[in-house]
Subunit: 216 residues, 2 copies
Amino acid sequence: MQSYTEENYLKIIFHLSQNSNPVQTNAIAEKIQTKAASVTDMLKKLADKELVNYVKYQGVTLTEKGKLTAINIVRKHRLWEVFLVEKLNFKWDEVHEVAEELEHIKSTLLVERLDEFLEFPKVDPHGDPIPDQYGNFADLSFIKLSKLKANEKGTITGVSEHSSPFLKHLEKLGLTLGKKIEISEIIDFDGSVELLIDNNKINISREVAKHILISK
Amino acid sequence: MQSYTEENYLKIIFHLSQNSNPVQTNAIAEKIQTKAASVTDMLKKLADKELVNYVKYQGVTLTEKGKLTAINIVRKHRLWEVFLVEKLNFKWDEVHEVAEELEHIKSTLLVERLDEFLEFPKVDPHGDPIPDQYGNFADLSFIKLSKLKANEKGTITGVSEHSSPFLKHLEKLGLTLGKKIEISEIIDFDGSVELLIDNNKINISREVAKHILISK
DNA sequence: TATTTAATTTAGACAAATCTAAAATATATT
DNA sequence: AATATATTTTAGATTTGTCTAAATTAAATA
Ligand SMILES: [Mn+2]
Ligand SMILES: [Mn+2]
Ligand SMILES: [Mn+2]
Ligand SMILES: [Mn+2]
């Protein structure tokens, strides 16, 4: 059994593994909002428990056991987010903090019943895939909106930034999941994107465009 | 803000206050499954935070602030129990452990939305009253089944023992919330109770009868 | 390659919550 | 009132997770 803290480390290592493998001590420290020295202490402990492969100065990778544990936390996090939005009328920018707490509740019966109650959702309110109870993700193929060229079309199916200010901004612009968009023009000057949504022409910064995920 | 542990102490002190006031160190130690010395340490800490009134060797009482905090935890515990039974099809003997974890989730928005989603329930799956957001309990007047005399009638509206074996036992006997019963006879020999339920005559021990709560 | 800089680890300390053993206080019994 | 017993508190240690400061190793640069 892992502590709340250990679970958070495993989850962060899992997410950071998507970008770089092995994961560096400093990257973890930044995400967990702690010091590199604390991370080192924890990595040794997780290695003792055979949840990570750790070689000093070389970074860490998750073991199979550690990976499954991490995925299970991600599963719970995303299921709870769906619950909050679908059943309790939370907005998509209000769910993350609460899900950070709920993801640590231990009962497996609870998770399976929740999944059933929500009718086995495949994605969370931010378009992130929800792994099944065996840890398998349906692989959804996303393209960043910023990669699209003029005249290309697509549907918004995810976001890669979950902060409340960003999500509220999208909401205000009408850029929510499921909406169809068409690129009008990429502005040379600053790389910002002009696009059509609900018959309106709007402009978004390149920074925003990078965090909107599109499927065709 | 209180820690998970502090919250548990406050909740236990609140419950023990119903029987004896002030509450003794040993009584707390037994409930929390810890040592008297640990309880003393925590009581000092809670006193510093003005959550309890503590005089050494005299026991503790909750301050107004401490009491409100405790009631809020009880509120959350019982709302989550309703959720688990009503929405996720948990049985009444399966909810307590999970609710012990869920009661510590902090979001007030979550609690209010959950209350609304459940349509403002007044009692939990064990018949215990759910306080409102201001800490007010609807006072339900219960009598222990063991206090009833032959020929008296009533409705089962609560239980004062929440262990899984006890609740499963009641379930098997058909003694669930809302059921109407009539006392046939109190057996002299052992004080056991013979009663009518759903047109069946059954016998329950005095020990069981003490933990069934009846309203007329 | 030598030197500078960045990343990581070690050493030692600290706060929270717990423990055991011993001392102090309160309550019960003669 | 004196003694015995039960309850509670103190003292000192332990575990978990964190910290700062200093030392070590790796990576970048000259
Ligand atoms: Mn989230
Ligand atoms: Mn999400
Ligand atoms: Mn309960
Ligand atoms: Mn209950």
